[in-house]
């Protein structure tokens, strides 16, 4: 019996619901040595900003119990370089490309959206309003429902592409933020970004990261992410991309049951470069073992 893994997300057809989480996959160059990137449901590019960013001082990554802290600081070559070098490379994979963008001001988000207009191969825009590692913008936009709504609007009125807004878990009420971005026209939401954390080296008494704090990802945050996906699924009726500590197909299934239409894989890519392929195969196996024929039979089906 064949299993249908395809889903529609904000109007984009994905052949399967698995994609990389922005910033863990670059433009796919490094991973293309390990597997056929074209097998993924979509490719999500690392956050691009209007101007190049150097990122934060190293060390920028450290391992924690069941997780990882990072404080990269949105290092990237800027939009112009991205359009010239990364996007054409990604087009080769012949799968939907989701461009993740960030800005310091509303106008920067609007500008990037305008610059992406009519560019071949861009299937959707994901707004990063939740990076905890940059000084201006970033998480400041994602932690206030009013600012989150405004930044979504700044993008919405400047693009006809499907708009995904990536939410931060570093808030008291994530559903409120989700409703605010949907009210401004978000077509989908992705959650969660990393949780702000800190780790200290007890031998040197110094923080492990030069930036002192960073974003926590990996299995440590999965239950938080599942809870938030479930909560948001109750209050908005746009599709959700579930993200947060997914290492295996079984982890991904939890997110589908909680209400995610698709999942994005981040930290797992650093441990096992073929993790996403294993997850796609695992989801297929999970469904067929249970006599299920369609991934949508899982979405939101948690029994309460």
């Amino acid at each position: 019996m064949s299993v249908n893994l395809s889903v529609t997300l904000a109007g984009i057809k994905l052949k399967n619901p698995v994609m990389p989480a922005s910033g863990t996959f670059g433009a796919g160059r490094e991973f293309s040595e390990f597997f056929d990137v074209g097998r993924l449901g979509a490719i999500v590019a690392k956050t691009v900003t209007l101007k190049p960013r150097e990122g934060n001082m190293p060390p920028r990554i450290c391992e924690t119990t069941s997780g990882m802290l990072n404080s990269i600081g949105l290092q990237n070559e800027g939009l112009e370089y991205f359009l010239k070098h990364d996007l054409p490379y990604m087009r080769k994979f012949k799968i939907p490309i989701i461009v993740n963008i960030a800005g310091n001001t509303l106008e920067e988000y609007a500008q990037i959206c305008r610059d992406l207009k009519g560019i071949e191969g861009v299937s959707a825009i994901e707004l990063n309003i939740s990076c905890p590692n940059i000084k201006a913008g970033g998480i400041a936009f994602g932690a206030s429902s009013r600012l989150a709504e405004q930044v979504t609007a700044a993008a919405r009125y400047n693009t006809d592409l499907p708009l995904i807004v990536k939410l931060t878990p570093n808030v008291y009420n994530i559903s409120k933020i989700a409703r605010a971005v949907v009210s401004a026209g978000a077509d989908a939401v992705s959650l969660i970004n990393t949780l702000v954390g800190m780790s200290i080296d007890i031998n040197t008494f110094k923080p492990q990261l030069a930036n002192y704090t960073g974003g926590l990802s990996g299995p440590a945050i999965k239950p938080v992410a599942v809870r938030m996906v479930w909560e948001v699924a109750q209050t908005v009726n746009v599709p959700i991309i579930g993200i947060g500590g997914i290492m295996t197909a079984e982890d991904a299934i939890e997110f589908f049951l909680a209400g995610a239409t698709a999942v994005a894989i981040g930290t797992a890519n650093f441990i096992n470069p073929t993790a996403m392929i294993d997850i796609i195969n695992g989801i297929e196996r999970f469904l067929s073992e249970r006599g299920l024929t369609d991934i949508r039979q899982l979405v939101g089906k948690v029994r309460l």
């Binding site: 405004q150 930044v151 609007a153 919405r156 605010a180 009210s183 401004a184 026209g185």
Partner: protein, 280 residues
């Protein structure tokens, strides 16, 4: 028989400045205990002794029975006097009058609410009702335009609307003054319709604004396959006496103040002398 000409005194308990020219007045009857029972889209006659009487939309939610609100823009002598009133002052109220929005038909349907300028006034009660009874209605999309950001009314309500589930609010203005941060749209309200996601087959559209705006909105809705019978417009701008006497608001044989102000599109379409008329 009750005398319909009796104006009931109501006290102003709160005044909120909406724009430079527009204020929202919260009112409470001083004698009647029953409050005001009305349908959103209906209006009251408000009178000030020595200055006259005029029709004004009720802008609060019908679920708030103890108080009601009116949102009034300063345009003439009566509204000029009303604009000078303070909390504690008394006005005369007769009403409610006119046809409201077809709330019964709207149950469990998606609502597409489109307004221009102060045209949002008669729709606010409907929006608040749909928010307070969130399970009684489907999705709510609000498309609202005005001349400049400073002319938008009910801005203090937007956060509340946006924090309700499955509400989308799109804004546009004709002109953004320099130095104002405006992440929303620029241009006519019709431009906002591209953001609509609701299925016209299970939705009603409610429109209020200048007739020329409503004409173009209706045209776009019909292209989007809204059925004519599912489109409703408020022609309230034409009203004067509110009691089918002065004739100022007449559209052909119909009085806006008693047959309307809310009409279905097929009704206004069949009438002559209005910008929504099929004959135009």
């Amino acid at each position: 028989m009750k005398n319909p000409y009796i104006a009931h005194p109501a006290i102003i308990t709160n005044i909120r400045q909406e724009t430079a020219e527009t204020k929202t007045y919260t009112l409470e009857f001083t004698k009647q205990k029953r409050g005001l029972v009305f349908i959103p889209g209906q209006f009251n006659m408000i009178s000030l002794l020595g200055f006259g009487e005029g029709p004004f939309s009720i802008t609060s939610s019908p679920l708030r029975k103890e108080i009601f609100e009116h949102t009034i823009r300063l345009v003439g002598s009566l509204t000029g006097q009303i604009n000078r009133l303070n909390v504690g002052d008394i006005v005369g109220i007769r009403g409610p009058y006119g046809s409201g929005w077809p709330v019964g038909l709207a149950k469990n349907k998606d609502l597409l609410i489109i307004a221009g300028g102060v045209g949002l006034a008669p729709l606010r009660g409907l929006i608040d009702m749909a928010i307070e009874q969130r399970n009684g209605f489907g999705e709510v999309e609000i498309m609202y335009g005005s001349r400049k950001p400073e002319n938008l009314i009910f801005t203090s309500d937007y956060d509340n609307w946006r924090s309700a589930p499955n509400i989308r609010l799109f804004l546009t203005v004709d002109e953004v003054p320099k130095g104002i941060e405006w992440p929303y749209g620029q241009g006519v309200v019709t431009n906002l319709l591209k953001f609509s996601k609701i299925n016209p087959a299970n939705a009603l559209a409610f429109i209020c604004g200048p007739e020329i705006m409503m004409r173009f909105i209706v045209r776009s809705l019909l292209i989007r396959e809204f059925a004519e019978k599912n489109i409703f417009v408020s022609m309230e701008r034409r009203m004067e006496c509110g009691m089918a006497k002065c004739g100022r608001c007449m559209i052909g044989p119909k009085y806006v103040c008693t047959d309307g102000p809310v009409f279905s599109y097929p009704e206004v379409k069949a009438l002559p002398h209005n910008l929504l008329a099929a004959s135009l």
